[in-house]
Structures are given as structure tokens and as C-alpha cells.
Amino acid sequence: MAEMTQVNWKAIDEDPRFQQLHRKKTLFLWGLMVFSMVYYFLLPIGAAYFQNLFIIKVWGPVNVGILFALSQFIVAWGLAWYYSHHANAVFDSEAAAIVQDVEKKLGGRK
């Protein structure tokens, strides 16, 4: 418990680097979230209200509806990969820099 009281949370929160990380992350996360929701709900909406489009055959018996349902999997995987790639490359290192500073201030105690 002793270490925690020594961390000045308010100072970290107000640190411009943290503020920047927060802004970038918020935009990125909610952007992906909204995109994935919209894309997903197009499936039940399309199946119900755009049946004429869904039943167009494009590849043998394979129709637009089947390709669109399959694309949901590809898009979900793609989003997951993109998020994790971005988080590994950008968010983690920026957070690590902030953490390192804090730990230094705590006198090397981890």
C-alpha cells in the first residue's frame, strides 16, 4: 500500500504525454468500435430490407448475402489485427515511457 500513496496520479494524468496518449487512444478505439457496430448491423438490416441485393448470385450458387456474411468474419479479424498491431506499436511504448518515469521517481522500487 505504501508505494501507491507515493504515486502522484493527478500529475501523471496532467502530463501532456499522457493527455496525448489518451486523446489518440480514445479516437482510435471509439472509431473502430463505431465502425464494427455499423458494419455488423448492416447484416440483419440487409437480410431483412435488401433481400433483392442479398440473393444476387455472383459465384455459382454463392450470393451476395453469403459473401457479406463471410466478410463479417474477415472484417472482425481484420479489425482485431489492426487494433493489436497499432496498440503494440504505438500505445504500449508511449505508456511504457510514462510508467518508466513513475518508477524512477519511486526510487527504483517496482
Binding site: 437480410a47 431483412a48 454463392v62 453469403i66
Partner: protein
């Protein structure tokens, strides 16, 4: 400890001995039943051995609840898949595809997309903030006692709904597959699960879930190889065979009724790949979709899995793995379901189970050479054993989540206010496990014959309307506080349950008896005419045709009369309604926004200095993971 474990094993052996003579008819033919038991025995032995090893490692409350936080991202990904792919999703979705084609496949998509929400906003912050339970996250900046009470109640509610559906579904499944009595299979599932959780805690539960997920994926890949190879792994080639199959065309004709009269066989077959054969109400679909994609992130047993990994990076990695496995599995179900429709036939699938749940197992039997072949029944036995392992693995995860809410939140957090020794914590966890396990068995037996399918939807509805808004807003909204959490949990839970109670999911005796009376009256008019036709029928073929119609009529009348006696004197549903008051089967569309609104209003009306003061710490921690290991130890 060792003698206790021996006692459990001895108890199980006795149960198996009791179970042996209690056979009814199942999908596995009598003479091959030993095969099923052999495969079951092997799989149960493996999981028992894992539990034995795990039991030695479980010493502290942290070991018991979250495997000491020492699970790797890859392991956790498999465990999440094992926890999530319940019998309903693995047998149910393949079954829906085999009976209704496209709609079944469309239904499976939401179960994967749900993990995007988990990945983006839940997994990492929860790992950085939480310890053992959902309430730990809520208690971080809010009044711990108050939010632990509401959080624990909601966790136990969601888990119990889901648990009941699993126990009843599992009992029915085992009975359909191998013909063991319903009560005995519920007790065997319950005791096995208790054995794993009680002795091995989260360590054993994790491994049981991993083993089950590997078995499930292996079985599915093998089956798909068999059904897809003849078409050279071509998607159009495979689907051409499906739409050209007479059994599939007959199923579509039966589903469409009069509308199918002017359609060619080709059109009927193609219709199987088009939407609208099963899901008729798009608003209900959207409502269910909302509950799925937001509710998964509020499922206590799924959240709990993220406390088992050491860092936020591992939590991220586990969701990526879980998505690859779960998504891959659902793509395979397209081939399993379509393959079963083409090779086994929808009519044969329905004959064993009207809901289509036996599509996968029957396909396995067909692939191996059919109902009379040794290999076919070995495959069937393997799939049956996977189904059994699935129920046990999912139930174990749910029991652990409910038990942790009971022991860690209510007993240790609220009643003892955190003043407990480590030994007492482990003891409380084990006692709670036994209580929840006994409850699961009792409810499972009491709910025999009840329609529990809507309980899964209800669990997701409560998780998305109460748990999800509370967790999300406490993590991301500065002004969120105790008032909001308490109000949100109460409003979200009650709205979701209340709307289901007045929805078409419930049984409405008046509608059933009116329909039944109509059948009886209609038959009374139609029968004399049919009998007259029978008397004047010109040839044997015409005679047989009329006789068949009379037999069908008699069957309908018998069914209708059974309903009339069953609901004699009743006119209202459980809550006293003659007709549904709310038209949707899934309440999410209304209850989720209401849940969010309740958290916002509650927070704005309530003053809570601690929640505001702790915001900086919570927000920095959830984003950076500073001292996350310390958080797990405090």
C-alpha cells in the same frame, strides 16, 4: 486432500454404475454404446488427471479464482473459446444451418463480433484494474460495499440463468445422444464440474476449457475435411451440391408451404442460401445482436478470464487468439450444417431432435460409415464426448464466476469487510463453490422439461443492460459514481427480466388453448368428409393417400387435446397476461439504452467525492498498467 479426491472418484464410478442400466433410446445404437463410454472415460480421465496436477498448485485465493494470474495469452485464448463455445452454440448453430440454411449462418456472426467490444474497451482496462471479480472493477472508485452487493447480485443472476440453460440443455443432450436418464446426466455433469472446480479451482477449469476447445476444433476440422474434400475445397462446388440435393429442396418446400408451389427444384435449393427461412422479425434480430455484441463484454465468467493473465498485453493477445478460434469455428459450422443437410438430410436430423441439435453428431456418424458401422459410431461417440466436455467446461466457468461473487464480494468484501486470513478466503471460495454447484444440480433437475432456450438470451440481456453500462462508464466516464452503478445495475437487470416476463418467450395458455380448440373443431368438420372420401376412393393409391391424411389429422387432434388438458382452466401466463405485452423476444433494444440512462442519471443525482478523487488513479492505471502486479497483490 487425497482421500477426499479418492472419495469423489469413487462416487463418480458409482454414478456410472447406476447410470448403466438407466438407458432409454439415444442416437447411439445399443450395441455400440460401450464405444461411447470408452471415449467418455478417456476424456474424463484426462481432465481428472489435469485436476489432480492442478490441485497441488491451488493454495491461495488468487490461485483458486484466477490461477494466480499465471496463464499465458495463448492458453487464455483457447480457454476463452472453451468457455464461450457452449453446447448451444456448437450443436445449436450447426443445427440451425442444417435446417434453415443462410439464417443459421447469419445468426452465428454476432457471437464473434461480440469480441471486438471485449477487445477494444474491456479486456485491457479490466486486466489493469481488476483482481478476481466484476465487482472489483466497480469497487475501485465507488463505495465498495454498495457496488459489491449489486455487482454480486447481478453476477449471480446472469450466471444462474446461463447455468440453468446449460444444465437443462446438457441433460437433454446427453439423453438424446446416449439415452442416459435426464436426472442422472445432470447429476453426473454437476459432480464432475464440482470435482474440477473444488479441487483445481481456476487452474483446472482453465485446462478443462483448453482441452475441450482443442477437441472441439479438431473434431470440426476433421468433419469438414471429410465433407468438403469431394468438392476439391471449392466453395461454389460444395454449395452447388447442397442446393442440388433433393433432401434440401424438400426441406425448403416444407418450410415455405404454399409459397413453394410454383418454384422449380433449382429455385427451392437456391432459396436455402437466402435469408428469411428462420429469422422473421428484423427488429428482434437487431435487439438480439445488441445484447450479443455488448452483453459478452459484461458476462462475469468471460471478464474473469482476463484476470488470469499477467499483463494487459497478454489480455489483448488472448482476445486475438480467442477470436481466431471462435471465428474459425463458426466458419466451419457453415460446412458442418450444410454438409449435414445434404448428407444426413433435414428430415432425419429433425427425427432425432426437432431443434436440429443432433446435426453435427449425426454428420459424424454418417462420415464414419453410418448408423451400423463401427467407425461411424466411434466418430459419433467422439463428438458426443466433446459435447459432454463442453457442458462441463462451460458450467465450471460459470460456477466459478458465481462462487467468486458469493465468497469474494459478498462474504469477504461486504460481511467481513476484507478482514479475513488467506486460509479463510480459500475456504470461503470452496464453500461457495459447493453451494453454487448444489444449486446448479437442483435447478437443473427442477427445470426438467422446461423450455430454457430463452434463458441464454436473458443472460445476455441482463449482462448487456446492467453489467456492461456499469463497467464501461466506471472505466471511461469521470462523473460516474456509486449512485450510477447502483441505479444502473437495478434498472438494467429489472428491465431486462421484466420485458422478457411479458414477452412472447413466456407460455400463454389462452393462445395455445384457442389454437388447440380450433384444431379440434376443424378436425371434427373435416374428418367425416375424409372418411367419405376413403369409402369412395377409386384405387389403393388414392385410399392410402386419404388414410395418410386421416392419420395426420388424428395426430394433430391428439396433440391439440394434450394441450387442452395441460392448460385446462389456465388463461394467463406466469405474470398474469393473456397475450404478450411486449412484442420482442429480445429486450436489448430497450433495456440497454435504459441501463445506460440509469447509470448517467444515478451518477448525476448522487454526490460521491471518492469516485471523483479516484478517477485520475483509475484512468492512469487502466491505460498504463502501472503497478498492475501490485494491484493484484493488494
Amino acid at each position: 486432500m487425497n482421500s477426499r479426491r479418492l472419495a469423489v472418484i469413487a462416487g463418480l464410478l458409482t454414478l456410472c454404475a447406476i447410470a448403466t442400466p438407466a438407458f432409454a433410446q439415444g442416437a447411439v445404437p445399443e450395441k455400440f454404446r460401450w464405444l461411447t463410454f470408452l471415449v467418455f472415460g478417456i476424456i474424463i480421465s484426462i481432465t481428472m488427471f489435469v485436476t489432480y496436477i492442478a490441485a497441488k498448485r491451488v493454495k491461495t485465493a488468487s490461485d483458486f479464482y484466477v490461477a494466480g494470474g499465471g496463464v499465458s495469452g495463448l492458453q487464455n485464448g483457447w480457454a476463452i473459446a472453451g468457455d464461450y463455445l457452449s453446447a448451444a452454440s456448437f450443436l445449436g448453430i450447426a443445427g440451425l444451418i442444417s435446417l434453415y440454411g443462410y439464417d443459421g449462418f447469419m445468426y452465428s456472426v454476432g457471437w464473434l463480433v461480440a469480441y471486438i467490444t471485449v477487445l477494444l474497451v474491456i479486456a485491457e482496462p479490466c486486466r489493469n484494474i481488476g483482481k478476481y471479480t466484476l465487482s472489483d472493477i466497480l469497487a475501485y472508485r465507488n463505495d465498495p460495499k454498495k457496488v459489491r452487493v449489486v455487482g454480486a447480485i447481478s453476477t449471480i443472476t446472469v450466471s444462474t440463468f446461463y447455468l440453468t440453460a446449460q444444465m437443462v440443455g446438457g441433460g437433454v443432450l446427453v439423453k438424446t445422444l446416449i439415452g442416459i436418464d435426464y436426472e442422472i446426466s445432470v447429476i453426473v455433469v454437476g459432480i464432475l464440474m464440482l470435482g474440477y472446480v473444488l479441487f483445481g479451482g481456476m487452474v483446472a477449469t482453465t485446462w478443462v476449457q483448453i482441452i475441450k476447445a482443442i477437441l472441439l476444433v479438431t473434431a470440426s476440422i476433421l468433419l469438414v475435411m471429410f465433407v468438403w474434400t469431394p468438392y476439391g475445397f471449392s466453395l461454389p462446388g460444395f454449395l452447388t451440391a447442397v442446393v442440388g440435393d433433393a433432401k434440401v429442396q424438400a426441406q425448403v418446400a416444407a418450410l415455405l408451404g404454399d409459397a413453394a408451389k410454383n418454384m422449380t427444384p433449382e429455385q427451392l435449393g437456391q432459396r436455402f442460401l437466402e435469408p428469411g427461412l428462420y429469422l422473421k422479425n428484423p427488429i428482434d434480430q437487431i435487439s438480439l445482436g445488441m445484447a450479443l455484441v455488448l452483453g459478452t463484454a459484461g458476462m462475469p465468467h468471460i471478464l474473469m478470464r482476463f484476470f488470469t493473465v499477467p499483463t494487459a498485453q497478454d489480455a489483448r493477445k488472448s482476445v486475438i487468439w480467442a477470436m481466431a478460434i471462435i471465428g474459425g469455428f463458426y466458419v466451419l459450422t457453415l460446412f458442418l450444417g450444410m454438409g449435414a443437410a445434404m448428407n444426413v438430410g433435414p428430415a432425419n436430423i429433425r427425427a432425432v431432435d426437432p431443434g436440429g441439435n443432433m446435426a453435427g453428431p449425426l454428420l459424424a456418424q454418417w462420415v464414419g460409415g453410418g448408423a451400423d458401422s463401427m467407425l461411424g459410431n466411434l466418430f459419433l461417440a467422439f463428438v458426443a464426448a466433446v459435447a459432454f466436455a463442453t457442458i462441463v467446461a462451460v458450467v465450471a466457468g460459470l460456477v466459478l464466476a458465481a462462487a467468486s461473487a458469493m465468497a469474494h464480494d459478498l462474504y469477504v468484501g461486504v460481511i467481513r469487510e476484507g478482514h479475513v486470513t488467506p486460509q479463510e478466503q480459500v475456504k470461503a471460495a470452496r464453500v461457495a463453490t459447493v453451494i453454487v454447484g448444489a444449486m446448479a444440480i437442483t435447478i437443473g433437475i427442477a427445470a426438467k422439461g422446461q423450455n430454457v432456450a430463452h434463458l441464454v438470451a436473458l443472460a445476455f440481456a441482463v449482462a448487456s443492460s446492467a453489467n456492461f453500462p456499469c463497467v464501461l462508464l466506471t472505466l471511461f466516464w469521470k462523473k460516474c459514481n456509486t449512485g450510477g452503478i447502483v441505479l444502473g445495475m437495478i434498472v438494467g437487470t429489472l428491465t431486462a427480466i421484466g420485458l422478457v416476463l411479458v414477452s412472447p418467450n413466456m407460455t400463454y395458455p389462452l393462445a395455445i388453448t384457442t389454437a388447440a380448440q380450433k384444431v379440434v373443431d376443424g378436425a371434427a368438420l373435416a374428418k367425416p368428409k375424409l372418411e367419405a372420401d376413403l369409402a369412395i376412393a377409386a384405387d389403393d393409391a388414392a385410399k392410402a393417400k386419404v388414410a395418410k391424411a386421416i392419420a395426420a389429422l388424428d395426430k394433430n387432434v391428439a396433440g391439440a387435446q394434450a394441450n387442452l388438458t395441460k392448460f385446462k382452466g389456465q388463461t394467463t401466463s406466469l405474470v398474469g397476461l393473456e397475450t404478450p405485452w411486449f412484442s420482442l423476444r429480445n429486450p436489448g433494444l430497450y433495456s440497454i439504452p435504459l441501463g445506460f440512462l440509469a447509470v448517467i442519471i444515478g451518477s448525476l443525482l448522487y454526490r460521491d467525492k471518492r469516485a471523483l478523487d479516484m478517477w485520475d488513479e483509475l484512468y492512469v492505471r487502466q491505460n498504463t498498467g502501472i503497478l498492475a502486479a501490485k494491484a493484484a497483490a493488494h
